[in-house]
């Protein structure tokens, strides 16, 4: 069977599965739609959260980024897992006890203010739209590479699938589909990794394999460091970023993870506070499987790549080489006309440019794995992009129908009307996301800086202070959110997107304290805390009933009853 046909079959089967689950788990009430009825088991919720969390970027790009940046890539590994410790300890149990539907719900109620709710809605929408545009693009890209259709066709098919199960099932449909998507995704990620680990080191566990010895008895990592030195690259196991920058980026990714609305909302879907804690552990376990394997894949792929291409005859390259050349993601320019590939650090002598996304997608081909593994990787990449897109869609539709419409504009609509409004909002959101996927705006490439920076500098401090400080009032929280968000937006617009100021003085030399835009969310968060605390000390204490709410969310008992209201 040809690879093409096999890929169609595997991807088609996975889509049929998602649609089947959607029909089985239709949403009957707004509670089903927003939080899956609040009755999801912690294990299923953990898997769904993991699938929701791991996007096309985690699945396709992350190992590639690490592969090309070595130690510096650690910021993503620690950043995107360490945030779950903050979530589990500081947010999840309390938000579950609070027991509403959305993050703006918490901000609006805790800070007894329509303005605070509105600020939260705007943040949630902005973060989610930035993030989802990248996902729709990811769906299109996976389609186009494996099924050889136009990127845009891929986006349309992806839109249709997501639309079907998120509109029909809401959070309930999304949660159970994500459980299936997690299984497909992790299987697709692990199988090639295990194969290659055995091929290269004889160790079936990739997590141990990349620290093991290769056939000639040297350690794989030492060998890779040696290859890097030979070709003039920085050593793989030591980075080139400054320690301060690595610190700030890691912190921003952790704080951002703990502040992303589509992750937080997950902990509203389990029955009890105890389950929210447990569910955070399950999510982290399921995420850690992929996140501890990715650095191993990065090392295997990097070593394989250098050994295959470096100083080899161009006309003796294997078939995958020319296949990826036609996509433009791999480019050979024979500068010295010797017919041999020079892949070195010096840009004047280097003849090969490689897109980092290739590393995961082409890895099975580079390692000569069977066709069904390659087909599986396509289905896995699709599952990763679709599951994240669906989770984000839900946040967007809930923000519009619940937070904006029900809580601010038309408080008198019935539950049935609200449910239809939620469905309508998801349709519109899919269309907008699809539009962004086909015509990606410039800021999509900066999604990491934007989404995580903004979540870290706005939501994280506001929620943490809402739980841990009884003195925090609406004036302080709003001032903190607006200031933190504002300064982070300014910094990213100034140094990442170059919308403000001159291009000439936006380089790393002009960064404040040498902090890159990706790491600025950490400073934004600190500013938010400082401004909020100072302002709250000079303004009125929060009313007694708010202090009672805070007292109440600190005690686990009673979350189950709150849920049945």
């Amino acid at each position: 069977m040809s690879l093409q046909l096999l890929t169609y079959i595997v991807v088609g089967l996975s889509f049929a599965l998602y649609i089947g689950i959607a029909i089985w788990s239709r949403a009957g009430s707004t509670k089903d739609f927003y939080v899956a009825g609040g009755g999801v088991s912690p294990l299923a919720n953990g898997m769904a959260t993991a699938a929701d969390w791991m996007s096309a970027a985690s699945f396709i790009s992350m190992a590639g980024i690490i592969s090309f940046s070595g130690y510096d890539g650690s910021v993503y590994l620690m950043g995107w897992t360490g945030g779950y410790v903050l979530l589990a300890l500081l947010l999840a149990p309390y938000l579950r006890k609070f027991g509403k539907f959305t993050v703006p719900d918490f901000i609006g109620d805790r800070y007894y203010s329509r303005t605070a709710r509105l600020v939260a809605i705007i943040c949630a929408l902005f973060v989610s739209f930035t993030y989802i545009a990248g996902q729709m693009r990811g769906v299109g890209v996976v389609f186009s590479r494996f099924l050889e259709v136009e990127v845009n066709t891929g986006v349309y098919v992806g839109m249709a699938i997501v639309l079907f199960y998120s509109v029909l099932g809401g959070m309930k449909g999304i949660t159970y589909t994500q459980v299936a998507q997690y299984c497909i995704m992790i299987f697709a990620f692990m199988v090639p990794a295990i194969f290659i680990s055995i091929q290269m080191t004889g160790n079936p566990l990739p997590q141990l394999g990349f620290g093991d010895r290769v056939a000639d008895g040297t350690y794989l990592l030492d060998k890779l460091d040696g290859l890097h030195r030979e070709l003039g690259f920085a050593e793989y196991t030591s980075g080139s970023k400054s320690t301060l920058d690595v610190f700030m980026i890691t912190a921003a990714l952790m704080l951002g993870t703990a502040g992303l609305p589509h992750v937080i909302v997950r902990f509203f879907t389990v029955p009890r506070v105890k389950d929210a804690r447990k569910s955070a552990l399950y999510s982290l376990i399921f995420i850690a499987i992929l996140y501890t394997t990715a650095p191993a894949i990065a090392v295997f792929a990097r070593t394989n790549l250098i050994e295959t291409v470096s100083n080899q005859q161009y006309d003796k390259m294997p078939a995958w080489f020319s296949k990826w050349e036609t996509t433009g993601l791999l480019d050979f320019d024979d500068k010295n006309n010797d017919g041999t590939i020079q892949y070195v650090a010096d840009p004047n002598k280097n003849e090969l440019t490689i897109d980092r996304d290739i590393m995961v997608l082409a890895n099975p081909e580079i390692a000569n794995l069977p066709n069904w593994v390659i087909a599986l990787v396509a289905a896995g990449g699709m599952a990763a992009a679709l599951s994240t897109a669906a989770g984000l869609l839900l946040v967007i539709s809930a923000s519009v129908s619940h937070d904006l419409l029900k809580k601010l504009v038309m408080p008198n609509i019935t539950e049935k009307q609200e449910l239809w409004a939620a469905r309508g909002a998801s349709v519109v959101a899919v269309l907008v996301a699809g539009y962004f996927g086909i015509h990606p705006p410039g800021f999509v490439a900066s999604v990491v800086a934007l989404a995580f920076g903004l979540a870290a500098s706005s939501f994280f401090p506001a929620i943490v202070m809402g739980i841990f400080s009884k003195r925090m009032n609406k004036e302080g929280a709003i001032a903190g959110m607006v200031f933190g968000l504002g300064i982070t937006l300014y910094y990213i617009a100034r140094f990442k997107l170059n919308w403000i100021g001159n291009i000439e003085n936006s380089g790393p030399d002009n960064w404040w304290f040498g902090i890159s835009p990706e790491g600025f969310g950490t400073l934004g968060m600190l500013f938010n805390f400082i401004v909020a605390i100072v302002v709250s000390r000079f303004t009125k204490k929060p009313p007694v009933e708010i202090v009672e709410i805070v007292d109440n969310i600190r005690i686990p008992r009673g979350a189950g009853q709150a849920q049945s209201h």
Partner: protein, 84 residues
């Protein structure tokens, strides 16, 4: 449940949080970033220790931390009779 018991429960909870978050900071920002060059002098198997913490060890420690949190909190909830 009276205010004093609530306060005592909350104080113990905060104590656990501070303890666990200090470890969280040490394994990731400490071993993986600030002390990485120092730890890289040591080797376990083929891994330099600092590099291992940054790409593997920190994540395993996070898992243990969340597990410890659950065990500690479940015990605390029972002790103060606020469990469900």
């Amino acid at each position: 449940m009276d205010a004093a018991t609530k306060k005592a429960y909350w104080r113990e909870n905060i104590k656990y949080l501070i303890f666990l978050l200090i470890i969280w900071f040490i394994v990731s920002f400490g071993c993986g970033i600030l002390l990485v060059d120092f730890l890289n002098q040591f080797q376990i198997g083929g891994f330099k220790l600092g590099f291992w913490f940054a790409q593997q060890g920190a994540i395993y420690c996070f898992l243990v931390l969340v597990l410890a949190y659950i065990i500690l909190m479940n015990r605390l909830d029972k002790k103060y009779n606020v469990n469900e």
